[in-house]
Amino acid sequence: MGTFTALAFLAGLALVHGNVIRGLNPDLASYYSGVGGSFKCISGIAKTIPFARVNDDYCDCPDGSDEPGTSACHNGRFYCRNLGHEPRLLASAFVDDGVCDCCDGTDEPKGKCQNTCLQASAVHREALKNKISQFEQALATKAEYVSKAKAFKQELQLKSSTIDDDVVRQQGVVDHLKGEVTRLEQEEAQRKAHEEAQQAAQQAEQQAAEAQAAQQADQAATEQLEPAAGSAVAEERQLQEGITQETQPEEREETPEERGRRIASQWTNDPAAAAVPGSQGDVNHEEEEEGQQEEGHYDGEQPSGDYSQGAEQPDEGEEYSGQQTYQPPRPDATTPLGEVRARLYDAERLLERLQKDKQDIQTYLRGNLDFGPDDIFLSFADKCFTSYQTRWNYEACFFKNAVQREGYSNSVTVGRWYGFAPDYKTMYFTGGDECWNVGPRSLTVTMSCGMENKLSDGEEPGTCRYAAKFTSPALCTDAEVEELRQQLRNLEAFEQEVRAQIAKDEL
């Protein structure tokens, strides 16, 4: 026991050795002068202790100020100078806990940690350089947006004088072709009806004969199967595979797989997990599942993640055009009717494009909308961005509206386009669907500089008041990159100084 106390005593001495108080924040040095041999706890209740109790590995001050260099107080702060990098204030919990937290290693006993401050600084410097080059790229992208917006505007202006006439004229072309198609179709239909009437009579006779034969065969098969040893297994398999013969869609029971999926979906709330296999929208999913089992490979493939939403989500903030609609294929133009249909198809597509132009001119040219400095946000015309959250996704379409979606089916309009804040760092969607007791929903999107266009962090901070964040190169400024360049210059200068200092210290 004697040795024990002696050791603790020596350790205590070392902590204030040479007037250097371990872990002391230089800003607070004046409190630790030791004048009069006492120390006054810096904050909280007035308490004065003998100065020998500073850093003696016992917590005396409720504010932890008597132990800047030990772990004795739960609320102490340990200062590491981290010469060559950035100074740091560490929670006293991290002092002498076996983990190197300060890059200069002073938070642990001597010899435990290596000084990694210059390496840390180098990492920091490289990160800074990286960031600068990313910013430069973003600024280049921003310039592209500006020219894209400008070109779009010019194009609309060019079209604007003739657009109304163009639409009317093209409508005429379409109407004419539609008439042609109708006429040719009627002719065709008459001819077909005649032929089919003849064929139907023949087929009816044939089917009646076949049905009788099939019934007899079925009976024979059942009789054969029942006494066989494996019959039950076969039935079980049939059940498990969900093959039930006379399935009437309205009344059939769940297959075991459907039951499994439905129960699984209780936990996941995932429509895909509950979906009936083979039903609309789930086909790809099913094929993928079966494919995996048959081929039996699993290394490196994406997780099937069947019941989680996470695995099937695209990356957060995905961008796409809000104008995607289903396009039927162009008709086959090899028959005379087909040829006219194909012409009608082309004429309708052209009409659609003209109508779109007309609408764009209405919206973007005559709509009195504010597109920001240099009209830069015009480059997001027709663009929508989605923030994928765990349960609800948020989709914001510039100059249009914003919706909140749950799964595939449910959506609520959380606002229609209102405009930008004067500093163009916020955009608003207001007047969305009514919310009980609150009024119309609204979405506020805060915008900031980022390397890519991305909507994120969709949430509902207040009932039916939604918020999200949008980052884009369009929000980046020269001032920001200049600030980073200045940081880099300062850092490099500082490193020079430190190297000189270290060289001097070594001499």
Binding site: A72, V99, T268, Q293, H297, V412
Partner: protein
């Protein structure tokens, strides 16, 4: 939560399916779907026995009685059938008697395998003395237990220490359905039973058993977990839902209700009855589905236990006290495993931490906010398509470096591994187990195929020792790719959960090794899977350190008797609701009384989103759960402790730090559980067994013998009523203030803020603490200790401290230190704790840890204060005014503190306190 009230739009789907989807869409209103689970009336074996008096049919044939020292055998006749049963009564030196009834001759009915219990107890018998024998009865004595066996009809009455303790068949509800030939006249449900679209083929016909156990003079019974209900079990002949018997059938219950007799994920058929002067325990070792009715009549509690199959194998624990009953249970079923110290720290879990960057950010978040934690958990999404023991290589491309990075700060990782195996021939686990025939079979004896997270799955037949041995080998570092020694395991879904099976589990006519029906062994599936996984980690540890190994850490959801020897369990998928916070207390206490102390509920509630207040209150309670883990459902908002604003962060930080500061005490409690089966959290009556007014208290509890905890389980609460048992002294654990002592138990109105819940030290006890908040248990290892000495009326106090390396089995060969602290006559003495009897070696470990602070609560006032004389030193040090706890009440300096005595924890020493 977004406020979408509109019903979901649905695609065109068939109507039956559509209906179920509609139900699904309103699940948050319906929650627990009663129609998915059977009631007694829908279950043939239960409905044909519940409250059906058949017990008078059974008679002992007097001439058949044979008494051989500690064993009595007799033939029990089922008169209407002329059927013979063999009754065996044995007496054991470890504090219990055993009653067995089986068919005679044996027809091979299922008996719970012996490895569910420990070995060796069968040989430690204690002889019977025959007191009297008449034509109608025989009376035996063993120790302080007296048994009276009556012949016509068969009844057995047990008295302990002169007090009536148990009557068997006194209400005529005993029954034993023997195996029989199928008859055309058999009632429906004998040979086949359909429910919920599933048909159970029941090839062995009816074989149910009914036990009629009456506890004379008792009003309170406890135990038979797992369910969300009160600690003192309510009668089951009341209003709904308490018109249903308690059910013991391990099931994956979706969104369970917070007050319901329905059985949940695990079962322990162990019940405690308690009255003034006597505690009795009964264990029916039977792993089939079981229903237990409780009726409370004037002067007694009656119970009827109906099991679907198996045999009668009833253990009656007669030690008399609550501690004695649990110690005896531990001598039969084994004590609680000594956990790794890290596993008593805080666990951070979520379904799911998405990828390596997420793991890194969450880990860093704890350090940024100065919040201690020890383990980060990965749920099912970390795997490659729910193929356990694999990694999703796009989300977790470098699992081993990720674990090593956590380990560099003393932390660990846990991954989930479930018993369903994806039916994919390219998945090595599936292919190997399939080739070796390791799966549970369906009734046609081919591999059972059920639906679970990965889709079509098979289930390892862990009831087979060979399968368990194979499974254990999957956890070695070379087999489990991407694992490191810092990785531990979580077993979920091991009821087993089968999404498309009856009641979301396996069909009862499935077949296990040896042709055993699933019906017989259902409740064992979980513990065997848990056991096999833990054996795997043990094997891995032995490979790294052949001498001392590494204690396994495996969390399980399903459990049975024996689980306590394997690892902790948690109370499954609870919800972020105040009622679930509240019911977690009786749930945890009930498990402790059933011999399974290492348990906890998901902090925050699994389903739904807790607000800052609920989450804060949950951490404040959770800090005392034996197993302390925050967990959340996939679709909940993120809820790491720092996401609810600076005030909530500070409160949660304080709660978790409280846990870490108590770890020396909690670890010592775990040692008591490990040596003598004592629960970590205890009902008040457990420590105050003579205080009748405490028998039903289940909203507050004692952590070990020395601390009383009153959780706050409602929002917006400014004051709470705290029941403090009379005759003891109680000190506010934040300030050290003594509550005015009272001879009788009193309810005290106590002001509370959001900052903490009321906690008290019990006079007469010494609690070791560590006051330095650290990032993990590993970082605390060298920290000095604080002793809180809370004096009783006589000015005395006692306590213990157990320490070891916190991780290996070295403690089993003496690698531990166990100190006893006694404060008497103003002298605090540290000496070696006496080793408990029964093969525990003396502790030989010394640790370079000191005691930096001794806090005295309840020293009589002294005008000039006190001084302390430490050891043989001549110099006296004055006791200073100081805070009881640096963390709990900064600034309060109401306690008397011995500052920095630097007492070495490994050695004997004395400190004398002298009035100045």
């Amino acid at each position: 939560m977004a406020a979408i009230a509109a019903p979901r739009l649905l695609r065109a789907v068939p109507i039956v399916v559509l209906c179920s989807l509609l139900l699904h869409s309103t699940q948050h209103v319906l929650a627990f779907k009663e129609h998915e689970f059977k009631k007694c009336a829908q279950t043939s074996f239960c409905s044909r026995n519940r409250n059906v008096p058949q017990g008078a049919n059974f008679e002992i044939i007097p001439a058949s009685i044979s008494l051989n020292t500690a064993t009595l055998t007799a033939t029990l006749l089922n008169k209407p059938y002329g059927k013979h049963l063999q009754l065996t009564l044995t007496s054991h030196a470890d504090g219990f008697v055993r009653l067995m009834v089986d068919e005679s001759p044996s027809v091979g009915r299922y008996q719970v395998p012996s490895d569910i219990l420990i070995s060796g107890w069968e040989n430690k018998k204690q002889g019977f003395t025959e007191n009297s024998r008449t034509a109608s009865s025989i009376t035996l004595t063993t120790g302080e237990t007296k048994l009276e066996l009556n012949f016509q009809p068969f009844t057995l009455a047990i008295t302990v220490k002169g007090q009536p303790a148990l009557q068997i068949n006194s209400r005529n509800l005993f029954n034993f359905e023997h195996r029989r030939q199928k008859q055309d006249s058999d009632p429906a449900g004998y040979w086949e039973e359909s429910w919920g679209g599933h048909t159970d083929s029941k090839p062995k016909g009816p074989e149910a058993l009914s036990l009629d156990l009456v506890f004379p003079g008792f009003q309170h019974v406890y135990g038979i977990p797992e369910r969300a209900t009160s600690l003192s079990l309510r009668a089951t002949n009341g209003a709904a839902p308490y018109g249903e018997p308690y059910r013991l059938y391990n099931l994956d219950v979706f969104e369970y209700l917070d007050d319901h007799p329905f059985g949940l994920y695990g079962s322990i058929p162990m019940m405690l009855a308690h009255k003034k002067g006597l505690t009795l325990g009964v264990l029916w070792l039977n792993s089939a589905e079981m229903f237990v009715d409780v009726v409370k009549e004037r002067g007694q509690v009656g119970s009827q236990w109906v099991a679907e199959s198996g045999i009668v194998d009833l253990f009656v624990f007669t030690a008399g006290s609550p501690a004695g009953v649990l110690a005896a249970y531990a001598r039969l079923a084994g004590p609680s495993a000594m956990p790794q110290l890290f596993s008593l720290g805080y666990h951070q879990c979520r379904w799911n931490y998405k990828d390596e960057a997420d793991v890194k950010a969450v880990d860093a978040g704890f350090d940024t906010h100065d919040i201690p934690y020890d383990v980060l958990w990965l749920d099912i999404e970390h795997t490659n398509g729910k193929r356990y023991l694999t990694w999703d290589s796009s989300l977790f491309p470098s699992p081993a470096p990720m674990q090593l990075d956590l380990a560099s700060r003393g932390r660990r990782m846990v991954t989930i591994v479930d018993p369903h195996v994806k039916r994919d021939p390219g998945y090595y686990v599936f292919a190997e187990a399939e080739a070796a025939g390791h799966y549970v079979k369906n009734k046609y004896n081919t591999d059972f195929d059920g639906w679970c997270w990965p889709g079509s799955s098979s289930y390892l037949d862990v009831t087979s020792p060979a399968v368990r041995q194979w499974w254990a080998q999957q956890f070695t570092l070379d087999r489990y790719s991407g694992s490191t020694p810092h990785l531990y395991i979580w077993n979920d879904m091991n009821e087993p959960s089968v999404f498309n099976g009856p009641e979301i589990t396996m069909p009862k006519d499935n077949l296990h090794a040896g042709g055993v029906e699933h019906r017989d062994t259902h409740n064992l599936y979980g513990v065997y899977y848990h056991m096999a996984t833990a054996e795997g980690l043990q094997l891995r540890g032995q490979q790294a350190d052949p001498q001392d190994g590494d204690r396994p850490f495996v969390l399980s959801r399903a459990f049975f008797t024996g689980t306590q020897r394997v690892g902790p369990i948690w109370t499954g998928d609870n919800a972020a609701q105040w009622s679930h916070l509240r019911v977690s207390v009786p749930m945890v206490l009930s498990l402790g009384l059933a011999g399974l102390p290492n348990v906890g509920a998901d902090v925050g509630g699994f389903f739904g989103n807790p607000d800052a207040e609920l989450l804060t209150r949950w951490y404040q309670l959770g800090a005392y759960y034996p197993f302390f883990r925050g967990h959340a459902h996939l679709e909940t908002q993120r809820r790491e402790p720092w996401l609810f604003g600076p005030e909530a962060t500070a409160r949660i930080r304080a709660a978790i730090r409280t846990r870490y500061s108590l770890l020396p005490y909690i670890y010592t409690l775990f040692r008591a559980a490990n040596t003598s089966g004592q629960p970590i959290l205890r009902p008040l009556w457990f420590e105050f067994p003579e205080h009748e007014e405490l028998f039903a208290v289940d909203e507050e509890f004692l952590a070990g013998p020395a601390m009383l905890v009153k959780p706050v389980v409602a929002p917006g609460v400014g004051q709470v009523e705290v029941t403090l048992p009379g005759g003891a002294r109680w000190y506010d654990a934040a300030t050290g203030a003594l509550v005015p002592p009272a001879a009788k138990t009193k309810s005290h109105r106590v002001q509370v803020t959001l900052d903490a819940i009321p906690v008290y030290y019990r006079g007469g006890h010494i609690v070791p603490r560590r006051e330095r908040p650290r990032r993990s248990t590993a970082a605390q290892a060298a920290d000095p200790l604080t002793l809180v000495v809370a004096l009783d009326e006589q000015g005395g106090a006692e306590g213990e401290l157990y320490m070891d390396d916190g991780r290996s089995f070295a403690f089993q060969r003496g690698g531990y230190l166990h100190r006893r602290f006694v404060f008497r006559s103003m002298k605090l003495v540290s000496s070696a704790q006496q080793v408990p009897a029964g093969g525990v070696p003396e502790g030989t470990l010394t640790l370079p840890v000191s005691i930096e602070r001794v806090v005295f609560l309840g020293l009589p006032p002294s005008r000039r204060g006190y001084k302390a004389v430490v050891g043989g030193s001549r110099q006296a040090v004055p006791l200073e005014a100081g805070p009881l706890s640096l963390v709990a009440a900064p600034g309060a300096e109401a306690a008397l503190v011995l500052r920095k005595p630097d007492l070495p924890v490994s050695h004997d020493w004395e400190v004398e306190i002298v009035a100045v």
